[in-house]
Symmetry: C2
Subunit: 356 residues, 2 copies
Amino acid sequence: MTTERILEGLARRDPVALARAITLVENQHNGFERVLSHAHGLLGRGGTRRVGITGPPGAGKSTLTEALIQRFRARRLSVGVVAVDPTSPFTGGALLGDRIRMESGSLDPGVFIRSMATRGAQGGLATTTEEVADLLEAFGFERVLLETVGVGQTELDIARSAETTVLVLVPESGDGIQALKAGVMEIADIYVVNKSDRPGADKFRQEVEVMLGIRRGNAFRHISPHHPAPPRAGKGGGGRGRTGQGPADSQWEPPVLATAATTGTGVDELAAALDRHYAYLQASGTLAERRRQRLAARTRAVLERKLRRWLLEATRVEELLALRLDEVADGRRSPYDVAAEILDQVKAGEGGDATR
Amino acid sequence: MTTERILEGLARRDPVALARAITLVENQHNGFERVLSHAHGLLGRGGTRRVGITGPPGAGKSTLTEALIQRFRARRLSVGVVAVDPTSPFTGGALLGDRIRMESGSLDPGVFIRSMATRGAQGGLATTTEEVADLLEAFGFERVLLETVGVGQTELDIARSAETTVLVLVPESGDGIQALKAGVMEIADIYVVNKSDRPGADKFRQEVEVMLGIRRGNAFRHISPHHPAPPRAGKGGGGRGRTGQGPADSQWEPPVLATAATTGTGVDELAAALDRHYAYLQASGTLAERRRQRLAARTRAVLERKLRRWLLEATRVEELLALRLDEVADGRRSPYDVAAEILDQVKAGEGGDATR
């Protein structure tokens, strides 16, 4: 399908065109930025809300997502989902398997679910995921859910590109609670203890609350030579927690909810908490400010990606590199000498047409 | 301290010069690549072995690292440690506090410990961590330990840049075992169940073993349209697990060890397992092959970093970007239009002297 036909299909709200557009963006094939630029012009119109959902594997995020989809559908809200699956050569298929069942199960045109494998994408993954979310928003979905799996920094960063971040834990989350203590899993807007029908769930929920209470109490008293206390209205960066959301911030106390997604217990309360948080964001002016910062960050990311692609494609960099890899591998030259030499060649215009 | 004096100090094996060199590399200040290129010429001489240690927060990795240091020192081996701490504006200081105590406690010149905060480094962090490990190796430390905290992909990737990766879990690792099941925490070379004096530790250790056994059995029978079965001798990339280490691979069965780092139980067994794994790497030829691949990857990473820096510094890219951020934030233009325009200017030589 050509870019032209994809754009035409998107205008007709054809889900096949949407699927193609996502594939185009995921693979960064020719024309992907044209489609994204087009989508960009359609953002912020339909009052789409983005919700990031993260947590350790096995916390029941998929089931919770499904339950949320049902609640949204009952209110006649259309829902798009981007699920970022960890790429495992061993079990990646199993996770995707679940997902495919979920996808094929939804014949409802008001629901669109898309999985993205992480492959080795690293730094670029967050940008690509946000771009796919843009496509879903531009297509007109009123709720866009971003689901990631993990208790690491990258996973949470993706979930945080949404307006509201939900962290899902289960009573067995031993490492999760440790990560929370250590501040690895920075602060979400809403905490959920799922599988709350299991023994020990209530005690666990209280532990999470105590943890958040301690965090709250210490947040501004923290002094360290290496880590200065966070500013009240930071520009994002490290912590977009309670303290990074602007002056009105202290008004939002992240709730710790109990759910049992399989039976539906507590899902209405979660949906209500999402509404409350969005209302808070609007009322405090945080929503507009956060959107501004996100757009600035995106522009920078897109430019860096473009520059890098241009350099690697238009110049003979790859070729020059291939010629010298043996010398490096044999220990005859250092990676730094070789890189400096290639950069000199690119600068001098020997690297190809890029510098002419 | 000038680059010249740092190099001179390193030649004298002055730990102050080493600390300065690390700071230089961490901040990528002027001359950092010269120091690294110099260090590169000294690698692989002293038979240094690198060990990556990762696991969820609270698993006792620091205590285990300390216990390992003692064992190495008893064998008169010098030890350098790079500890990558998650940057939390709230608790980062607390973690670093522990570390600083550990650092100041080691008046032994045969031990050097350095913490690195993750800040927002993302993709660049793995390269910088490896570069700091290079400095420690070039300085002559016979064992270099890389310690990371987390159950995410990034954290494990860093630990994996070492020759041997150790994954530390504790009986409470509910999420850890789920991550293992889901394949998020890909395969380490050695598994450690620490705090093995706690109730349920033995059952937990057996669970890990069962998990690895299942993984092992399924590894080559896995079929998925999205994730083709992993090649037997892959080029790294996604999974450097049992299946990615080359043909002789199947000979290494990752052991699951039980330790209690605070009392020292099982630490000798861990040290012995490290020796066994290194011997296996040498005998199978995997060590040389892995080193080759690592050098190629490093050269590519260094070149990309250089190109990016050159573009951002030598051209007026940042200035051009700043001029247009308001238009993007106001929704008048898309990030893609703006990025394309700036790239055109850079190409046409309007961006500064970089293209002349």
